[in-house]
C-alpha cells in the first residue's frame, strides 16, 4: 500500500500535488483536462477585497525555458469569488487554498475575515508579487513587515495561514523565520523572480509593465536551493514551487524539504501536468518501495 497523504497544519492532502496560484484560475478551465479530485489541492488566483483590473498588455513574454508575467493580480474581488469560485471548487474532492492579495494590511485583512466563514481549507498570503506597485512584495522584502502582517492575518484567520515568500531577497531564510515568528502555519516558495526582456527589433520592453516575474523550468534550481535552505531554518511545513513540470521535479522539492508542491507554468505547456505528476510520484514510490510519502520529505540534507 502506497500512502501519498501529507499534512499541512492539520489539513490532510491526498497527495502533495497542488496548483500554483495564478496559473490555474479557480480550476474551472483546467477541469476540462484534469480531474481536480486527483489533486492534493487547488490554489486559486490571488483575490483582493475588490476587483482589480491588472496591468496593461503585453502581460506575458517567453524566455528560454521559462516565461515572464506581469498580470498585475487582476481578480474579480472577494464577493464574486465567494459566490462563484468556491462553490465550483467544493464540487470536487480536493483541498482549497485561497491566495490572498492586497495593497495594504487592511485590504489583506478584509479578505481573510470574509473567508473565515467560507468552506476553504487554507489561506496563502501573497506578500511577494513583484508586479504591483504597492503592497505585494513591499511586505515580503522586510522581515519586520513579514512578521507583522503574518501576526495580523493570524489574528483574524479561521484557516491555517501559509505565507508566500518572495525569492527577490538577499536571504530568504530570514523572511521564512519572520513568518514563523509571526505565527505562520506554513510557508510557500518561491514566487516569481523579477526579470526583464527587451524586444530588440522594436527596441521596447517585451512587457508593458517593463519588468515581470520569471517562472518555469529555468528557475527550478534556484527554487530547490531556497526550499532546502528554508527547510534547514524553520519548523513549519513548506509548499515548494518554481519550475515543476515532472514528477522528478516535484520529488526534488520534496527531498529538499517540501511537504507539498505547486505546479504553475507547466500547466501552460502541459495541461495534464498536475495529474501526471501525482501519478509519477506514485510510480516512483512503487519503484523505490517507499510506503509513505512523508518518509521522503527532507530526506536529502
Amino acid at each position: 500500500m502506497i500512502d501519498t497523504r501529507v499534512n499541512i497544519a492539520g489539513v490532510e492532502l491526498k497527495n502533495p500535488v497542488m496548483t500554483a496560484s495564478g496559473t490555474f484560475g479557480s480550476g474551472m478551465e483546467y477541469s476540462e483536462f484534469v480531474d481536480l479530485s486527483r489533486l492534493g489541492g487547488v490554489v486559486t488566483k490571488g483575490v483582493a477585497d475588490v476587483p482589480w483590473p491588472g496591468n496593461p498588455t503585453p502581460r506575458v513574454a517567453e524566455t528560454t525555458g521559462g516565461m515572464l508575467n506581469a498580470i498585475g493580480l487582476q481578480n474579480p474581488g472577494i464577493d464574486v469569488f465567494c459566490k462563484r469560485d468556491i462553490p465550483f471548487l467544493k464540487q470536487h474532492d480536493t483541498k482549497i487554498m485561497v491566495n490572498v492579495c492586497g495593497h495594504s494590511t487592511e485590504e489583506y485583512l478584509r479578505v481573510v475575515e470574509r473567508l473565515a466563514s467560507e468552506p476553504v481549507d487554507l489561506l496563502e498570503i501573497n506578500i511577494s508579487c513583484p508586479n504591483v506597485k504597492e503592497g505585494g512584495i513591499a511586505f515580503g522584502q522586510d522581515p519586520k513587515a513579514v512578521e507583522t502582517i503574518t501576526r495580523e492575518v493570524k489574528k483574524v484567520a479561521a484557516q491555517p495561514v501559509v505565507m508566500k515568500l518572495s525569492p527577490n531577497v538577499t536571504d530568504i531564510t530570514v523572511m521564512a523565520r519572520a513568518a514563523e515568528a509571526g505565527g505562520a502555519d506554513a510557508v510557500s516558495l518561491i514566487n516569481t523572480l523579477t526579470g526583464m526582456k527587451i524586444d530588440v527589433e522594436r527596441q521596447t520592453f517585451a512587457l508593458a509593465n517593463k519588468t515581470g516575474g520569471m517562472s518555469g523550468p529555468a528557475v527550478k534550481p534556484v527554487a530547490v536551493r531556497m526550499v532546502y535552505q528554508v527547510a534547514q531554518s524553520v519548523n513549519i511545513p513548506i509548499i515548494g514551487m518554481g519550475g515543476i513540470a515532472t514528477a522528478e521535479d516535484a520529488l526534488e522539492f520534496i527531498l529538499a524539504g517540501a511537504t507539498a508542491v505547486s505546479v504553475g507554468t507547466a500547466n501552460f505547456f502541459n495541461p495534464y501536468a498536475t495529474v501526471e505528476i501525482a501519478e509519477g510520484i506514485e510510480n516512483y514510490m512503487k519503484r523505490h518501495n517507499i510506503e509513505k510519502l512523508t518518509d521522503l520529505i527532507g530526506a536529502v540534507h
Binding site: E29, F33, I71, F268, F269
Partner: protein, 256 residues
C-alpha cells in the same frame, strides 16, 4: 472538449514568401472545431515553452484534418516551417469561440481578412450559410485567393496596387460599391478599428477577431486580456480574455 494531442503532419507547402500551409491529422480536435477558432501549437525543443496561437484556416471533420496557414515571424514559426510530412507536433485545441455562424445565416456577410488575418476567413466562407463577400487585403504577394474564389465573391486590395484595389480593404469595398448586412473580420488592429467605425456608420454588426500574447490559451492565466467597453461578467473589470471569451468579439464590446 479541448484536448492536447500529438498531430501528424500530412503536408506542408510554402505558398508565398514566408507563408506556410500546414495540414495536420488530428485525433479529436478537428471533429469539434468551428470557423474562427484557433489552436495552440507547441515547439518541441524544451526552450520555447509557450504555445503559438494559430487560427484554423480549413477544417475537415470527416478526415479529422486541419489546415493552418501562418507567417514565419520568429523562432516558433521558424521551427514549424521545418516540419515535414510524417513529423508530429503538439497541438492544443480547439480554442476560443469562433465566428457566430448562426447569426450570419441567410445574410450577406463581409468576410474581411488583412495580412495574416486572411487564413481564418477561408473556412468561415466555406461554412457560411448565407452570402459571403470576401474582401482580402495584402501587402503585395497574394495567397489563398484560388480557394477563396471557390468559396464566394472575392475582391482584393493590395498596398502596392499589384492586384485589385490599390489601398486597404475599405478602399476595395468603396471602389466596388459593395454592401452587406454584417462583418466578420480578422487582421491588424488599425484595420479592425476602421471596420468598427464602418460598421457603426452603416449600422451593421461587426465581429472582429483579436490578437494578444498568450500563456495558457484556455482562460486561466489572464495573460491575454483586451479592454472591454463594459464590465465583464467573468473578470468583474473591463477586461475580456481573448483566448476564452474571444478571439471573436462584437466590435462595440471591445476597445480598439
Amino acid at each position: 472538449m479541448k484536448v492536447k494531442e500529438k498531430c501528424i503532419v500530412i503536408s506542408q507547402d510554402c505558398i508565398a514568401k514566408d507563408i506556410y500551409s500546414l495540414w495536420l491529422k488530428t485525433d479529436k480536435i478537428a471533429a469539434q472545431a468551428r470557423p474562427g477558432q484557433f489552436v495552440s501549437v507547441y515547439c518541441n525543443d524544451g526552450g520555447h515553452l509557450l504555445p503559438r496561437p494559430i487560427s484554423l484556416c480549413e477544417i475537415n471533420q470527416e478526415k479529422g484534418t486541419l489546415r493552418l496557414v501562418y507567417r514565419v515571424v520568429g523562432k516558433g514559426t521558424e521551427m514549424f516551417a521545418a516540419l515535414k510530412a510524417g513529423d508530429s507536433v503538439e497541438v492544443l485545441g480547439p480554442l476560443g469561440n469562433g465566428f457566430p455562424m448562426e447569426e450570419a445565416e441567410g445574410k450577406r456577410v463581409f468576410l474581411i481578412g488583412g495580412g495574416i488575418g486572411v487564413p481564418p476567413m477561408l473556412e468561415t466562407a466555406k461554412q457560411l450559410k448565407g452570402e459571403p463577400v470576401l474582401v482580402m487585403g495584402y501587402r503585395d504577394e497574394l495567397f489563398l485567393t484560388d480557394e477563396m474564389k471557390k468559396a464566394g465573391e472575392l475582391v482584393i486590395a493590395t498596398e502596392d496596387g499589384s492586384a485589385g484595389t490599390k489601398g486597404n480593404v475599405l478602399d476595395a469595398i468603396r471602389e466596388n460599391d459593395l454592401k452587406a448586412d454584417m462583418i466578420f473580420a480578422c487582421g491588424p488592429k488599425p484595420m479592425l478599428r476602421a471596420l468598427k467605425a464602418y460598421g457603426l456608420e452603416n449600422n451593421i454588426p461587426c465581429y472582429v477577431s483579436m490578437e494578444e500574447r498568450m500563456a495558457c490559451g484556455v482562460g486561466a492565466c489572464l495573460g491575454c486580456v483586451c479592454q472591454s467597453t463594459e464590465v465583464d461578467d467573468h473578470s468583474q473589470v473591463k477586461n475580456k480574455r481573448v483566448c476564452k471569451d474571444g478571439p471573436v468579439f462584437l466590435s462595440t464590446e471591445v476597445e480598439l
